[in-house]
């Protein structure tokens, strides 16, 4: 009822001034030079930009190399517990699930896509990929498939339009560590989200 009231006010106001013209929004695409056609060049750009954002990036020869890479990282930092997206459930990782998930040292997520221009990874949250895995721990790791790297957000947004009703309850584009420059205008990592971000890129299996 209130919405109808508002809509009628809006219509009244717009009609009075609009001369009846309600144009169509023209199609538009960013300049061509921002789209990198060569996959190897796109991967290279993603790695550069993700590093600039404060992430640590490593290219893995295969997906099998992920588990040892994660275990090595945890060992290096003395991290004892982790939470992870469902598809990473292995005996080794399961053994590291702590009693208190909100207090885990590390979170491991899978990105559904990545944008080279900004070095961002895109997460699609569903029951197997809870938001907290990339949110509560002080450090987080993302697995990115090389073939899922696009040039920029243009292509990701086009994907979202295509998903329509299948759109997840939450999608997150992550660029590097959580940050704030509110104190003394100095950028500090780890404001509320993870202050350390690791990205592992794998060629497709």
């Amino acid at each position: 009822v209130e919405l109808e009231a508002l809509l009628s006010v809006v219509r009244q106001r717009l009609e009075r001034a609009a001369d009846g013209a309600t144009g169509v929004l023209p199609q538009w695409r960013p300049p061509d030079e921002l789209f990198v056609a060569d996959p190897a060049a796109r991967l290279a750009l993603f790695v550069t930009r993700a590093r600039e954002s404060g992430a640590t990036v490593e290219i893995l020869p295969s997906r099998v190399a992920l588990e040892p890479a994660v275990l090595e990282l945890l060992g290096e930092h003395g991290w004892r517990t982790m939470i992870f997206a469902e598809r990473f459930r292995t005996p080794a990782f399961e053994a590291l699930s702590g009693a208190e998930p909100a207090a885990a040292d590390f979170g491991l997520c899978e990105a559904v896509a990545a944008a080279a221009e900004t070095g961002s990874v895109m997460l699609a949250h569903d029951p197997g990929n809870p938001r907290r895995v990339s949110l509560l721990p002080p450090a987080v790791g993302f697995l990115v498939r090389a073939s899922s790297i696009v040039s920029r957000i243009t292509e990701l947004l086009e994907l979202l339009d295509e998903r329509g009703a299948a759109l997840e309850s939450c999608l997150t584009l992550v660029r590097g560590p959580s940050r704030s420059a509110d104190i003394g205008s100095v950028t500090c990592f780890g404001a509320h989200g993870p202050g350390m971000v690791y990205v592992w890129v794998v060629e497709d299996e």
Partner: protein, 483 residues
């Protein structure tokens, strides 16, 4: 007509207070000097055809607003389809009453809030606290000013006027122990202090950068992660959205999402862009069980079809503030509104009424820097002039202000006249040894004269530098470090 939550005191009083605070003056100056060259670099390096992007942002926003009825209907329908609830608030009072009602229904005693300027506009915190609900701001800057009992100085950097030592002293008082003067340590302190609140709050309140009509989604553009926590952990999520904050679909968000972080100078992108489509789904552990989207009018619909419609294109990046020579001197709190700088001087009286905010359209030198940088190409100086005209045409003004306002307005409307006024100001400053004369000068000029760093007009006034730079678009010539 809407209402905008106002700070106590008068514009003149708040300005005088701000100018008498050397630590704040220094903080504002170094903030702008740091950010202006950086902003310029971000809008040129790595993003070709900056002006074409601005054209696109203007077109997307203007198109949405011209067809707002259609997109609002589509948006609200899709929010409901995805399990969310929609409430339309005509006024600030209706919006706060609704949120207070949800808190009561759920027995909420603690609410965590991520930064929402609309929340500040409608005075939500005071309304919730009056109803016995504790509200904790979780954006670091908002948390700091909430603890300090202050109001935001900048729409994207609420505590930009405070020094590192100010924050250290404040946090030390709250913590009951001396904290080190290191931004990292103080940030870590806030993280620890707030984490428990996220996990125990009964309600999360967030703003909305953009609503996507085609899917009923809420898009949040943030850096700290508190916006994600507020919308993911508490069982109830309330989203406050200005009714104009829509885009038609995801693709039309492209230019807006590309330009916002660059104009807001966080970088090529923020740390997080979050797209929320309804409450948590079956099987999900995160996300609210209940999601309310409060669509707020509060004076916005009255701007449709008027000469002020273009201000609804604003994407709240804060770029006009970063380049405003008046904000540089008086800071955001002097405006008395949550919205400061050029956009604040325009939108505050438009939403809250010229009767309540007659001074703000005059808090500008009309130098045009705001329009030069605005990514939505809002003609802010024109709108300021239109508002001044409306003030002069008979909206009531405080008696003592009339003369000062008129001369200030007349002088600033033309650069040459402004120059002579500034030179006169320079002369008057020479007479400062005779305080009686000075005390008779009314209005903003009196406040400017009291400023110790009033530029010497013939050599270093803003407008002189501007002319000398010879190119209005070159922001790098403005800041000290860029010159």
């Amino acid at each position: 007509m809407g209402s905008v939550d106002a700070a106590p005191g008068t514009f003149a009083g708040r300005t005088a207070h701000a100018l008498a605070n050397p630590s704040q003056t220094q903080a504002l100056r170094s903030y702008q000097d740091d950010i202006q060259p950086y902003a310029r670099q971000l809008t040129t390096d790595g993003l070709p055809q900056w002006d074409a992007w601005r054209d696109r942002v203007r077109d997307v926003r203007a198109h949405t607003i011209r067809n707002l009825d259609r997109y609002l209907e589509e948006f609200a329908g899709n929010v409901i389809k995805r399990g969310g609830r929609v409430f339309v608030a005509a006024t600030a009072a209706e919006a706060t009453a609704y949120v207070v009602g949800i808190a009561r229904d759920h027995g909420v005693r603690l609410a965590v809030k991520s930064k929402t300027m609309l929340g500040e506009e409608i005075g939500l915190n005071a309304a919730l606290e009056a109803a016995g609900v504790q509200v904790v701001e979780t954006d670091l800057g908002e948390y700091i000013i909430q603890l300090a009992g202050e109001r935001p100085a900048h729409i994207t950097g609420p505590c930009i006027h405070m020094s590192l030592e100010d924050v250290r002293a404040l946090f030390s008082r709250v913590a009951g122990r001396e904290l080190p003067p290191e931004p990292e340590a103080l940030t870590a302190y806030a993280r620890t202090a707030l984490r428990g609140r996220f996990l125990s709050a009964g309600m999360g309140i967030s703003g909305c950068n953009f609503g996507v009509a085609s899917s009923g989604s809420i898009v949040l553009v943030t850096n700290e992660g508190n916006g994600r926590l507020v919308t993911s952990i508490p069982p109830v999520n309330v989203v406050l959205m200005g009714m104009e904050r829509l885009v038609p679909d995801w693709t039309s968000l492209d230019a807006v999402l590309t330009v916002l972080p660059r104009a807001g100078v966080c970088g090529p992108s923020t740390a997080y862009v979050t797209a929320i489509s309804g409450p948590r789904r079956e099987g999900e552990t995160d996300g609210p069980a209940e999601m309310h989207v409060v669509i707020v009018d509060n004076g916005r619909s009255a701007l449709l079809g008027t000469e002020f419609e273009s201000v609804l294109r604003c994407i709240r990046c804060g770029s006009c503030i970063d380049h405003c020579p008046v904000w540089r001197h008086i800071g955001g709190q002097a405006y008395g509104s949550p919205y400061s700088g050029p956009i604040g001087a325009v939108i505050t009286p438009l939403l809250g009424g010229l009767g309540a905010w007659p001074e703000l359209p005059f808090a500008s030198s009309l130098c045009g820097a705001c329009e030069e940088v605005c990514p939505a190409r809002i003609p802010l100086p024109d709108l300021l002039l239109d508002l001044r005209r409306d003030v002069v045409r008979g909206v009531q003004q405080p008696a003592g202000w009339r003369l000062g306002m008129r001369s200030f307005a007349a002088a600033t409307e033309r650069p040459k006249a402004f120059g002579s006024a500034m030179r006169a100001a320079g002369l008057a400053r020479g007479m400062a040894r005779r305080p009686k004369l000075l005390a008779h000068l009314p209005g903003p000029l009196a406040a400017w004269l009291k400023s110790r760093d009033l530029p010497v007009p013939s050599t270093s006034s803003f407008s002189t530098q501007w002319r000398r730079a010879g190119k209005r678009g070159d922001t790098q010539n403005r800041g000290k470090r860029g010159a």
